[in-house]
Symmetry: C2
């Protein structure tokens, strides 16, 4: 096990009928006026908007709004919201929505207290130690942003999709009511499943040894995600399945099951971010293409772990097979499972021709190469991975 | 899954050579003078004392000391330390030691800010919302107190051993260096194993349903504790085993794997506290007697879960057996495993005659009855459980 520091200060309020507590949580921290950030308006259809607004009002919290955050959230929206937040002199940011909205809220929280371009925090030119406090009402479980210090934003001018990770952007309070996710289309549940599983993989397969209890917990969360994704695709209004699924996506990236495993690999995410920066594809779709291809390319460098994964998570029976066979079957079964929940698993499935590979690789290469930890990947490696994932 | 609020603000610093950071952690919070609480002096033999003192000095943190905390820590020591802390006007308490020392430090932290008798916090006559900040250097992994809001103290005048649980006593920072535990006698490792497993059982078997991911994680941590206890009894200086074991004992009771499971059962702990309040027996020893007896008594009320436990944790093969058989075999195997690591598993093993049972039950009954959640236990039930555990 590697040395680690674990400090996750986010307060989670989880369960049915919890959204109405948001006003109290914000008011008791002394905030009189907040900026509420949200997405494309689904919160108005589901009643979440009304719940939040009533709760703020009944606790005397004024608010201004910036809506219209899109999936794969963009820098221009962050800048727009920063300007509103400054003009209105709010003291906290409230994100109501899914990962894109919450990440936007976090970026705004950093931007308000920084005179330069907030993109500097993503390129690490600026490494913020302060941000306005962020409050969250989560309406789409997937990215884990509700309990971590990360945010991913696309700079649409440069076509770069980068993440940032700073302790100052841990949400202060996050409310997760799984019952408001009943209406989500199956596609978003599938995207969330792949994203959460990929978060776990980034640590699980990163090559660090002597991480037995972390592996046990990772495998347990992976099995649970698989089980409840299938249940939800069957019945999207199954509360217990929504609750299990929601909590798993939080656990997948709140630093808890990965404590002692180091910083993770993150090559799959880097490659995927290039994909969804360039093409109209969801993060979870891009990962369903990149992850199995990366696994095939790197499998021999961590064979024992891929074998363990195949047996413990993908239920491959080892009888008489070689380690290589078992590991390879595990990866194939994962890929088939991604397909079974409606995900593309090749570039072709996503309508991206093989000829685009050099362009994707150039986009990945805008960041410092090599990427990854288990295997340090340079351009040539990334080309090969994308070729594996092409069709 | 039940609704829950999760908020664990403790910062964990984990790994080799981390103890020297304690001075910096305390100094950066602005403390100039602390009370250092410790046990029977083993920290002076292992070099931990010197590491802590040097770190405090080099960061300009003054300190006063109260040593001599014994296993099953007592109220009189808390009162003694509260008086020192007040007289010396310290602004924080630093516990350096195992569970007894840290629990004493927490009680002192409460006592300093309360004019009445600190025992009131254990009887709930006083429900503290403030305490001095507590810092921890852990030297014995077992109780999980380093990352939770609990403390257990014995009132030696009344023979009562009670716990308290208040958010204000979460440690601010806890340092866990597994390598300082190399010298621990096997007995203390075995006690720690039983204690940590019992913490998990209190939630796992409490009868709440739809807790799949929590069960998966609980089972993973239980399997890991079993595996690494065996390794440590073989080689107490195996760093990776110490690290896995240490982190598991923290995970067992920091609220993470039990979030959504409710408050737990806690009947076994209540019964055990009566045992170790009356007899010279370690908490882990008392639990090794009470837990299997409680399991046998309550098994039929949660048969599916006991069967799952037998198969997933105790590796009982189900072939052709009835659920009852499988569940019962799991409990017997757990009891045999406790014995194999040197624990008493009956009152007789611990030198407590069957005739003492009424006295033990009277001690349990000093608190409000019934106790427990899966099965609400009154006096008669507790008699029966202790009779099962008698010999």
């Amino acid at each position: 096990m590697l040395n680690f520091t674990f400090h996750n200060p986010t307060k989670i309020i989880f369960g049915r009928n919890t959204i109405g507590t948001i006003g109290e949580e914000i008011a008791k921290d002394g905030h009189k006026k907040v900026l509420m950030v949200y997405g494309m308006g689904s919160i108005k259809k589901t009643g979440v908007y009304e719940l939040v607004v009533n709760s703020l009002k009944s606790h005397g919290v004024e608010f201004v709004e910036v809506g219209g955050v899109k999936p794969n959230p963009v820098l221009s929206k962050v800048v727009e919201a920063v300007n509103v937040a400054r003009k209105e002199k709010v003291t906290a940011i409230l994100g109501v929505g899914g990962g894109s909205t919450i990440d936007t809220a976090k970026a705004v929280a950093v931007g308000v207290l920084y005179e330069g371009n907030v993109w500097d925090a993503f390129t690490k030119k600026y490494q913020p130690e302060k941000a306005l406090p962020v409050y969250v009402v989560l309406t789409l479980s997937a990215t884990g942003t509700e309990m971590n210090p990360n945010a991913v934003i696309t700079n649409e001018e440069t076509g770069e999709k980068y993440g940032m990770s700073y302790p100052c952007i841990y949400p202060k309070v996050s409310i997760i009511d799984p019952s408001v996710q009943f209406h989500l289309p199956p596609k978003q549940t599938a995207n969330g499943a792949v994203d959460a599983m990929a978060h776990i993989f980034e640590y699980y397969f990163s090559g660090v040894e002597n991480t037995d209890v972390q592996d046990e917990m990772a495998e347990g969360v992976l099995r649970t995600i698989i089980r409840y994704t299938e249940k939800l695709l069957n019945d999207p209004t199954d509360y217990e399945a929504r609750a299990q699924f929601a909590w798993c996506t939080t656990l997948a990236l709140n630093g808890f099951i990965s404590a002692g495993v180091g910083g993770g690999d993150w090559a799959c995410h880097a490659i995927e971010h290039a994909l969804s920066a360039l093409y109209d594809i969801a993060h979870g779709e891009g990962l369903a293409i990149v992850v199995p291809a990366w696994m095939k390319y790197t499998m021999m460098r961590n064979l024992k772990k891929f074998q363990r994964f195949a047996e413990e998570v993908m239920e491959i029976t080892p009888d008489g097979k070689s380690s290589v066979q078992i590991a390879a079957e595990g990866i194939e079964k994962l890929k088939a499972w991604f397909a079974s929940i409606g995900q593309p698993t090749t570039l072709k499935d996503a309508g991206i021709p093989r000829e685009e590979i050099p362009k994707i690789v150039e986009n990945v290469a805008k960041r410092t190469l090599p990427i990854g930890k288990l295997v340090k990947l340079d351009k040539e490696d990334i080309v090969r991975i994308l070729e594996i994932g092409a069709s």
